[in-house]
């Protein structure tokens, strides 16, 4: 699969549009879902997907094989998404490594029942910062190792681990809050 993807990139670099078709169909769903997990707007997400695939087409010759093709593509998607967020909110910085208050965090056993409610989890994931949502998506939807996630989002492995840790704490706090309000 990886070799096939590299071959597709080689052909795209030569201007082969049938390779573009195959590449787009192979990656479009994953890339869209990654972008969509961070942008709450399907039109914006479609637009960014288009920008990502355009960039892949134009940059295919520059792929050096230092990472897997999927890491490279998701990395482009990561940066394009941040660009879009910055354009949407000019002057507002994108929160790259937010910290959260960890006092009085609920324990895992208390929030387990709420975590089994799809609607409550969706609401709480939506409230996460952009940086936390991306790591949660890459770890739990894409099932990627932390090293690969670090390559995609462009930060040290330790930062990926702590972002995931803070994301989990924030989710637990949110789920516990919903449970307390009787919403789960």
């Amino acid at each position: 699969m990886s070799e096939d993807d590299r071959e597709l990139l080689n052909r795209m670099a030569q201007g082969d549009q049938s390779a573009l078709d195959a590449f787009y169909r192979a990656y479009e769903g994953r890339v869209y879902r990654f972008i969509r997990s961070r942008l709450n707007d399907s039109f914006d997400a479609s637009d960014v997907l288009n920008e990502v695939m355009f960039e892949v087409w134009r940059s295919a010759s520059r792929f050096e094989g230092r990472s897997s093709v999927s890491t490279w593509v998701l990395g482009i998607a990561h940066h394009k998404t941040i660009d879009r967020i910055r354009r949407r909110k000019p002057g507002e910085s994108v929160e790259l490594d937010p910290e959260i208050a960890e006092d009085e965090s609920p324990n895992a056993a208390e929030t387990l029942s709420a975590a089994q409610d799809a609607e409550q989890v969706r609401r709480c994931v939506d409230q996460l910062s952009e940086a936390h949502r991306s790591v949660v998506h890459l770890a739990f939807f894409e099932d990627l190792p932390y090293g690969e996630i670090a390559g995609i989002v462009g930060c040290p492995e330790g930062t990926v681990k702590t972002r995931m840790f803070h994301a989990k704490k924030a989710l637990m706090k949110c789920l516990a809050g919903l449970k307390e309000m009787g919403l789960s």
């Binding site: 795209m12 201007g15 479009e28 869209y32 479609s46 695939m53 134009r58 940059s59 010759s61 099932d143």
Partner: protein, 211 residues
């Protein structure tokens, strides 16, 4: 191992639990986490919670991705941007900018063609004697169908397909090239009939679906 070191170790292992759950840890890290799970009920609760969260993330339903519409849009922009550069250096940003610059103009040009098509249908005595612009008229039926047209379809071909289907363009194209259609006379044509006619015009209509 003293208490402080033990606590620090456990905190480090806590950070690895999400990757134990998604089964991507290296063998040595996995072994350490498994030993941690054996001795810590806290760790076992955390893993149960993380598994539930992972399942919800995986199961979350979102709308469909753009699919073939997105591919068509991409290929249009690539065509506008020209062939692959021999040296891609510095070209990517410029071509994206060019594509963005042309996008609104291209959409405006498409809308102009649609409006012109509406006028021509009227002048040639097609279904519906009133001119129906993309902006619509009060009292017109709501759009019921979505279509995309082949990139090389001519105005004449599009007009003939729409007339035979008993449909007219209500609005569009969207950024993905989608047009919304309404039935000219819902009393004489059903949505199913119009849909079947549109789908049978494979060379002109590349996609047809209910709205």
């Amino acid at each position: 191992m003293n208490t402080d070191n033990g606590k620090k170790d456990d905190e480090d292992l806590d950070l690895l639990l999400p990757w134990y759950v998604n089964d991507t840890l290296e063998a040595e890290e996995r072994r350490q986490v498994e030993a941690y799970l054996e001795r810590s009920s806290h760790a076992r609760d955390e893993v149960a919670l993380l598994r539930a969260l992972r399942q919800q993330v995986k199961d979350e339903q979102i709308e469909n991705s753009p699919g073939e519409f997105g591919l068509q849009r991409l290929k249009r922009e690539i065509k506008q941007a020209g062939p692959q550069p021999g040296s891609a250096d510095k070209m990517t940003g410029r071509t994206v900018t060019v594509a963005r610059f042309w996008r609104p103009l291209a959409v405006a040009a498409c809308i102009a063609v649609v409006i012109q098509a509406g006028v021509m249908i009227s002048l040639t005595g097609g279904p519906g004697s009133d001119v129906e612009t993309a902006s619509g008229n009060a009292g017109l039926a709501a759009p019921v169908l979505q279509v995309t047209f082949a990139s090389d379809a001519t105005e004449l071909e599009i007009r003939e397909v729409l007339q035979s289907a008993g449909a007219s363009i209500a609005d569009g194209p969207t950024a993905l090239g989608i047009y919304n259609l309404r039935l000219v006379d819902a009393g004489t044509t059903t949505v199913e009939e119009a849909l079947a006619t549109l789908r049978a015009s494979g060379d002109v209509v590349t996609f047809a679906e209910r709205n």
